[in-house]
């Protein structure tokens, strides 16, 4: 079964796979998680602000993003971002946006919807006495959020946020649909060039599996430690 396997092709392309591909994947994952968390927290605060219009707009955005397949959202932003850039900069034609910037914007906007639901649950899990006490101490709304509610919400939700980041890490492989060279894109390019689909796709599967497994094992350990503190 493995007789005509050419494992050498993996060794020959390791540099390309990891320095070009995996670097792209990990940078995209990290920055999207960070951006998604920041925007997600803002969206969650909008929804919990008690201002009807703001809450509705944020709710609509989250529902829209969560009902669409990521592949379609990637296509949307891939074509839309140059026009948004044109509108923002006032230039006469759609601006050119690089592969990395385009996919980063896509994933931040998409993940913000998912992170906002996690942060919303986190903020709601804080007992009402906490913001009330903050108010009694004379903290303003933003101070209460900044120093009292959000740090606790973030801490409580850390395992869920990290699990979502692992999902995000796997989802970044979908940039394949707009021919971007992430880890899977790199593997696929080598596979097509050398006619070695079997070896490259199996190798990609093993690498994704190993990274996700180790990461989720870490999250489980973290979760049990946090649970112990409580």
């Amino acid at each position: 079964m493995f007789a005509n396997f050419d494992f050498d092709v993996i060794g020959r392309s390791l540099g390309y796979l990891f320095f070009d591909g995996m670097t792209f994947t990990l940078t995209l994952t990290g920055l999207s998680a960070l951006g998604g968390l920041i925007f997600g927290t803002l969206i969650a605060l909008m929804r919990l602000s008690g201002l009807k219009l703001l809450g509705h707009v944020a709710g609509l955005y989250v529902d829209l993003m969560r009902s669409l397949p990521l592949v379609l959202v990637i296509f949307w932003f891939y074509f839309l971002v140059p026009y948004i850039g044109q509108w923002l900069t006032g230039s006469s034609r759609p601006i050119h946006v690089g592969a990395f910037a385009s996919s980063l914007i896509t994933f931040i906007m998409f993940e913000a919807a998912y992170f906002s639901e996690i942060m919303r649950a986190g903020i709601q899990s804080i007992s009402r006495g906490q913001p009330a006490a903050a108010q009694a101490l004379g903290l303003t709304y933003s101070q209460a959020m900044r120093y009292v509610v959000l740090p606790q919400a973030f801490r409580n939700m850390l395992p869920v946020l990290l699990t979502q980041t692992i999902v995000l890490f796997q989802d970044t492989s979908l940039v394949y649909v707009v021919s971007i060279t992430d880890f899977l894109g790199a593997a696929s390019k080598v596979a097509q060039r050398d006619g070695r689909l079997v070896e490259m796709y199996l190798f990609a599967a093993v690498v994704y599996f190993a990274i996700s497994c180790i990461a989720s094992f870490g999250v489980r350990r973290l979760q049990s430690r946090i649970a112990f503190v409580h």
């Binding site: 669409l68 839309l80 079997v198 199996l202």
Partner: protein, 243 residues
């Protein structure tokens, strides 16, 4: 913006020769729904079994369940589909591989089975959570009544667990529908692929994607509404979500 909107494009004949662009998108929608339903049947059947395995007292059974979930959850769906579609026919014995490659509608079967297996890991986690959320007394009472383990699951645990699981299962079904779009990479011409094809033929990129977006939203609304009715119809009076 120097983009030329043309909303009447949907009624222009598509170059594929099978009708208008709208027909194209609708046939994509149909394939999306068919694939999602087939994948969901696999995910629900296999996921329930694996979820039950994880709650059994037997160490082996729960380990098998654990391994299944970890295996299918820790690889991106896209990579799994590539492995089923490109790798599997090559590593099977020659005759089987040839049969797989020559099979008509290969992208459809690969997508249905691949997405079904991928989602089964998530359904299994929901099943396990559903069963574990039941009060311990239910299982103990069933044992005290002299029911076997199989009977306990069949008559006591599962009927309650599945009712509790309805809301998360609804989101998993929606996720299954959304995940069918990943199968465009192995040549399944579902809704997103049809929208992409329409964009390539007509250059009306935003109209095409808007139409696909609206269709996905409609499917979502229909599923959520139908599941809410189902939830209400099967609710146990006086219990959790009961009337």
């Amino acid at each position: 913006m120097n983009y030329h909107w043309n909303w009447r494009i949907f009624f222009d004949p598509a170059p594929s020769g099978t009708g208008t662009y709208l027909d194209m998108l609708l046939s994509g929608l149909l394939l999306t729904i068919e694939t999602a339903i087939c994948a969901w049947i696999i995910a629900l059947a296999l996921g329930s079994v694996v979820g039950v395995l994880r709650t059994l007292p037997s160490k082996t059974a729960s380990w098998v369940g654990f391994a299944h979930v970890e295996f299918f959850r820790n690889m991106p769906l896209l990579v799994q589909l590539f492995v089923w579609f490109f790798v599997l026919p090559e590593i099977l014995p020659r005759a089987w591989g040839l049969w797989l490659k020559q099979m008509p509608h290969a992208p459809f079967y690969t997508a249905a089975i691949g997405i079904g297996l991928f989602m089964s890991a998530r359904v299994a986690e929901q099943t396990r959570a559903g069963i574990n959320s039941l009060p311990r007394g239910q299982k103990l009472a069933a044992t005290a009544l002299g029911l076997t383990t199989a009977q306990t699951y069949r008559y006591v645990l599962l009927p309650m667990a599945f009712r509790i699981m309805m809301p998360p299962l609804t989101s998993e079904f929606l996720a299954t529908i959304k995940n069918t779009s990943v199968a465009l990479t192995i040549g399944l011409i579902e809704l997103t692929a049809e929208a992409r094809a329409m964009q390539e033929f007509s250059f009306q990129v935003f109209e095409a994607f808007t139409a696909a977006t609206v269709l996905y939203l409609l499917v979502n609304i229909v599923v959520v509404t139908a599941m809410r009715f189902l939830e209400r119809a099967i609710a146990v009076p006086g219990y959790i979500t009961g009337k």
